[in-house]
Subunit: 378 residues, 2 copies
């Protein structure tokens, strides 16, 4: 094992003080070209690399951001992580990831703590826990940006998808194609994301003047297996739906194979979350596309702004979703004539309905921000 090379070794070889080496390493201008050259030569000769741990201790903060997600095996979070990592890398920051695990939201505080004690400069958290009041103290020291869901019990920066608009858009799409019995398939209602998508579903029904039929709302399916079972109950009920809005990927991974297995590909489907091969099925699956890359980058950038200005008010960034028509969502209900139209273009949803702010930005990668007052933080 080679010995560790430190500033002092370089200083000794270059016959200067450690401080001068530090100046050269940090690009301080107050060093004469001659000394600078001597030091750089010594650095090269010894292969010196500054010890970032020591630097972090001294300056009181690391150049690492922490990221807490539910599961890296989930493609949504994987792509989100990828985007965060890229954005961080561009800024010279490293990323520590930790996953909480699908079934154990109660571990979230522990995971977050384990990153905080490592003195991360900031955190990006996809919240699972019911309350985030436990962060009230920590959040003052370490900036936190929440993604995907709003934290409860704390005011903070956040990046959200417009779940309400998405649920509305998906449902309306099916209604526009003539369906009148549209089912909602979703996971636990204590998940705010599911709640918002369901609210969007209801809003679309209401806008269309349709009554709600609770027998068409199947929630609580936490896994593909449970979603499959829930979908079977829907299909086998007395008045089955002609169209289904599957409100997340796990549900779709239960629903779609079921429909194919039963030969029931006549049932119209819109899925929240795109998934690989969704466009190779027959019919290809119409999806609401989430764009985790856009969300991840927006979260990273929100965090960077926060690092640059710790006192600015908290902001919420809303990322638009888009509907990608591929066939399954454009199937007509049984007995209908030809579908009224065939969508070919991507439809953008962005009505800012989750938030106070409104603007007209509609591009795929565009986002909108809205300030929050800091009042009420505790």
């Amino acid at each position: 094992m080679r010995e560790r090379v430190t500033l002092r070794d370089v200083a000794h070889l270059a016959a200067v003080s450690a401080k001068t080496v530090s100046r050269v390493v940090n690009g301080d201008a107050h060093v004469t070209p001659g000394t600078r050259a001597r030091v750089q030569q010594a650095i090269a000769d010894l292969g010196f690399q500054p010890n970032l741990v020591a630097r972090s201790l001294r300056v009181g903060r690391t150049d690492v951001v922490g990221l807490v997600v539910e599961s890296l095996a989930d493609p949504f979070f994987a792509r989100l992580t990828s985007a965060v990592e890229q954005a961080a890398h561009e800024r010279g920051l490293a990323v520590m990831v930790s996953s909480v695990g699908n079934r154990e939201p109660e571990r979230e505080p522990l995971i977050v703590e384990s990153l905080l004690v490592r003195q991360v400069a900031g955190l990006i958290v996809a919240p699972m826990a019911q309350s985030h009041a436990y962060l009230a103290g920590a959040g003052r020291r370490t900036p936190i940006v929440f993604v995907d869901r709003l934290p409860e019990g704390i005011v903070s920066d956040a990046v959200l998808v417009d779940d309400l608009a998405a649920g509305d858009m998906a449902t309306r799409h099916l209604l526009d194609h003539g369906h009148r019995r549209v089912a909602f398939l979703g996971s636990e209602l204590r998940n705010p994301t599911t709640r918002l998508r369901l609210a969007g579903y209801r809003r679309a029904l209401a806008a269309c003047g349709l009554p709600e039929d609770e027998s068409l709302v199947a929630v609580g399916a936490g896994s593909a297996r449970e979603a499959r079972a829930a979908a079977e109950r829907l299909l086998d009920g007395p008045r089955p739906p002609t169209a289904i809005f599957s409100s997340n990927m796990r549900c779709s991974l239960g629903l779609v194979p079921l429909l194919h297995g039963r030969g029931r590909t006549d049932v119209a489907v819109v899925s929240f979350d795109d998934f690989p091969m969704a466009d190779s099925l027959v019919p290809a699956v119409t999806v609401i596309d989430h764009d985790p890359e856009v969300i991840g980058r927006a979260a990273a950038e929100r965090l960077f702004h926060r690092l640059d200005d710790l006192d600015a008010p908290a902001e919420t960034v809303t990322v638009p979703v888009r509907l990608v028509p591929r066939g399954s969502g454009e199937l007509p209900p049984p007995g209908a004539g030809r579908p009224r139209r065939r969508d070919q273009d991507v439809v953008l949803a962005q009505d800012g309905s989750q938030d106070r702010a409104h603007n007209g930005a509609g591009g795929r990668a565009s986002t909108m921000t809205s300030p929050h007052a800091q009042e009420g933080a505790r």
Copy 2:
């Protein structure tokens, strides 16, 4: 912003020295129950959390492992990362991930350096660069485990999949179902993984007494789009294949939609790498399953062993693959009668052909290890 709470603050409140607090925090036995209780009370009162950066500086090593992969957006690496992260968490280690990017293997040394200067305790690297001689110095200080591919120009711990056996198994499976014109679709040949799978393909052909037909070998497709184009050339050639071994997921994501789009689902396909929905297509896609979780965990455990014993000889762990018959790989060639049999069971490949060691382990998650002499490291 609350002030940072340090050991000294706790010491002051508990009326002991900082050292005693340190002893309590680290569970040192040489503290009387009375003082221990007083200190713990003070810790609780102040909400003290030890600063791991300071500890790391003092003890000379962090409790963080670095992971370098090609892209987190790739489900294989995402699941691998997930497994590494879980294993690390169980050992109280954090994980820093960095991705190199699909198209720029030359960035690998920079990425690795950026983790080394952060004093990671160890590294897990999915190599992309052509040579890893640049690690010869660093590798003596920081243990490195390579995954997925063997490093070049250095001897080190590694975790590999048995690519040769996998290529052999996939090809043999198609030959067993009566095919005589089996094509190979793969990415760049400078990728050792592709080379090994191709070697397996050739071994199976040779074992079957078939001549090689270079017009059936399509390599160099780095993206799904290029793979699609390469597959089109295969199908449109003068003597098209009746079966195709698609040697990685990107190739399959080009090939499979092409076959479906053209209505050529009569062409038999075996895909290396499973992918979501592969079993919902008609026919479902027969795959060689990689099991990134097993690979990731094996890599993490190899690294942990290394951390516990820095002087042990380097070892290579080989992870078995399995063939999952689902339909597309069992299609008969045109003109054949009924297929001879329908495989229902999972087939395990583990002949250790990449390595000197042999054993009979065959369970899904089993691995085999073989020691390497350290000779030849430079």
